[in-house]
């Protein structure tokens, strides 16, 4: 269920796997606070444990992020979703999809898995109430066939949370 597009994905290009290896080494030397990379031998899919930051609504809670890399990473953004159960947040759908511009239109190769993780944690930390997006049910129903969040046309309208 959580790996809809895994079988149809193309293997990483030379450039992509080279860059990911370097990112992984950098992560191991200098991991972002609050995150733990679950060691696997799959470079193309990272599973990362997120700990809610102390003093925020998500303190003491643990979630899992799944990061899938496209063949031409970093020319294309990685696909980042929460493995359900996803945190209750106005920009996170119950199927784990995250409405965050840098994962889609605003991605740039200057970003890294680590910087994306920090953005997601900061999005969680600045939330003032635990609730689902208003259109959660409709959106999740539309994604039932295992659609990737990267195929969604996102509207980024809220810059507060």
């Amino acid at each position: 269920m959580t790996s809809p597009s895994a079988s149809s994905r193309k293997a990483l290009s030379k450039i992509a796997s080279n860059r990911l290896q370097k990112e992984l080494v950098e992560w191991q030397v200098n991991p972002p606070t609050g995150f733990k990379h679950k060691v696997t031998d799959n470079l193309q899919r990272w599973v990362i444990e997120v700990n809610g930051a102390p003093g925020t609504l998500y303190a003491g809670e643990t979630y899992q992020l799944q990061v899938d890399f496209p063949e031409h990473y970093p020319m294309e953004a990685p696909q980042v979703i929460f493995i359900p159960p996803a945190p209750l947040h106005p920009h996170i759908y119950s199927n784990g999809h995250i409405c965050l511009d840098i994962l889609y239109d605003s991605w740039s190769p200057a970003m890294t898995v680590s910087s994306v993780c920090i953005s997601i944690l900061s999005m969680l930390s600045s939330s003032t109430e635990k609730q689902r997006p208003a259109d959660n049910d409709r959106y999740v129903k539309n994604c039932r066939n295992g659609r990737s969040p990267k195929e969604t046309r996102w509207w980024f309208h809220d810059d507060k949370v």
Partner: protein, 344 residues
């Protein structure tokens, strides 16, 4: 826009000609034979003939003027030495020289000229913490600009010496790519604290202005120490030694290894060399060959990687085989030649 007004008298007529010169397109448009006084016959035909003849005359005048301008610039560049010339714009209104100071540091002097040069003094900019006042008269030449810049550099030797000393012996975290105009340094002083130092260009060995960064508790302690011990700052001691003695701590060493790597790795694929791959044609296995021109960014890229990225986003424009977009790091404009050989 500049307007010139010339008055010309011919035998029969007095024409007032307004010549409009567009500085941005360097084309000369002449507008109007605006106003004339005639004593004799005024057939339309004659008027047109005269004005066309006049246009022709003026074009020749213009060409003569610009060729004199070109000759002057070439001979003045010659005096400075072609080996110093770094850039020369096609219409010769912008040029830059690469010059060495006494200690062999490289500097780039950029000069913008007006078409009325040398009547109008050139505009000068360089990688210095503050600019010098150009002394200019109509018989001054480019070599006088260079000489005055060299004198200015001599005055700044102590300043650069101090900064080099800091860069050599302390852990500088910002600027990542220091250049000669930047007069601040952010230094990691250990214990998760940083100090931002502002070095005075005129008195670099003096107690600098500073700001501390870190947790409130630690910063307050540091400020207290600084206030108490700043009288221990001695102008004749090396800067790093002074800093350590005022802060009363051992300062961490610089992190050389990391710095070197950053300069040559591509900001997109993170590798120094592209993979060996037939698809890349001539570029297969080559190193980074493009640098962001923003001096504060200076990120290196493989033009192949940057080109691939620019092609993958919709905001990039392409014109005559050049891709125009923005640096993924600093968003400043970048332009990449589309390499044909990579595609064949």
């Amino acid at each position: 826009m500049t307007f010139f007004l010339t008055t010309l008298a011919t035998v029969r007529t007095v024409y007032r000609v307004v010549e409009v010169c567009c500085t941005d397109s360097d084309s000369f448009v002449f507008l109007a034979v605006a106003d004339y006084f005639q004593n004799f016959d005024t057939s339309r035909q004659t008027n047109m003939d005269v004005s066309m003849e006049f246009a022709e005359q003026n074009r020749c005048l213009e060409l003569a003027k610009s060729s004199a301008y070109y000759r002057r610039i070439y001979s003045e560049v010659e005096e400075v030495g072609w080996e110093h010339l770094l850039k020369l714009q096609e219409d010769l209104t912008f040029l830059s020289f690469r010059l060495m100071d006494k200690k062999g540091r490289e500097h780039v002097l950029e000069i913008t000229l007006d078409k009325t040069y040398p009547k109008c003094p050139p505009l000068v900019s360089a990688d210095v913490p503050y600019n010098f006042n150009l002394e200019w008269s109509t018989d001054s030449k480019l070599r006088d600009v260079v000489r005055q810049f060299q004198e200015h550099m001599d005055k700044l030797q102590d300043f650069w010496y101090t900064l080099d000393d800091i860069d050599r012996s302390l852990w500088v975290t910002d600027p990542k790519q220091p250049h000669h105009a930047i007069s601040y340094r952010q230094i990691n002083i250990g214990n998760d604290c940083y100090i931002m130092l502002f070095i005075s260009a005129s008195d670099p060995q003096a107690l600098p202005e500073c700001r501390f960064m870190g947790s409130d508790k630690k910063v307050n302690l540091l400020k207290e120490t600084w206030r108490r011990r700043c009288k221990h700052w001695m102008k004749d001691k090396p800067f790093p030694e002074n800093l350590a003695s005022v802060l009363d701590i051992q300062l961490p060493q610089p992190q050389h290894v990391q710095k070197n790597e950053e300069q040559i790795e591509c900001g997109i694929c993170y590798a120094q060399n592209l993979p060996i791959d037939d698809e890349l044609g001539m570029k297969s296995g080559s190193g980074t060959d493009y640098k962001c021109e923003n001096a504060n960014c200076n990120r290196a890229f493989h033009s192949v990687c940057l080109g691939d990225w620019l092609r993958s986003i919709t905001t990039t424009r392409q014109s005559f085989g050049v891709l125009f977009g923005n640096c993924p790091y600093c968003s400043d404009p970048v332009a990449i030649k589309v390499s044909l050989e990579a595609k064949c």
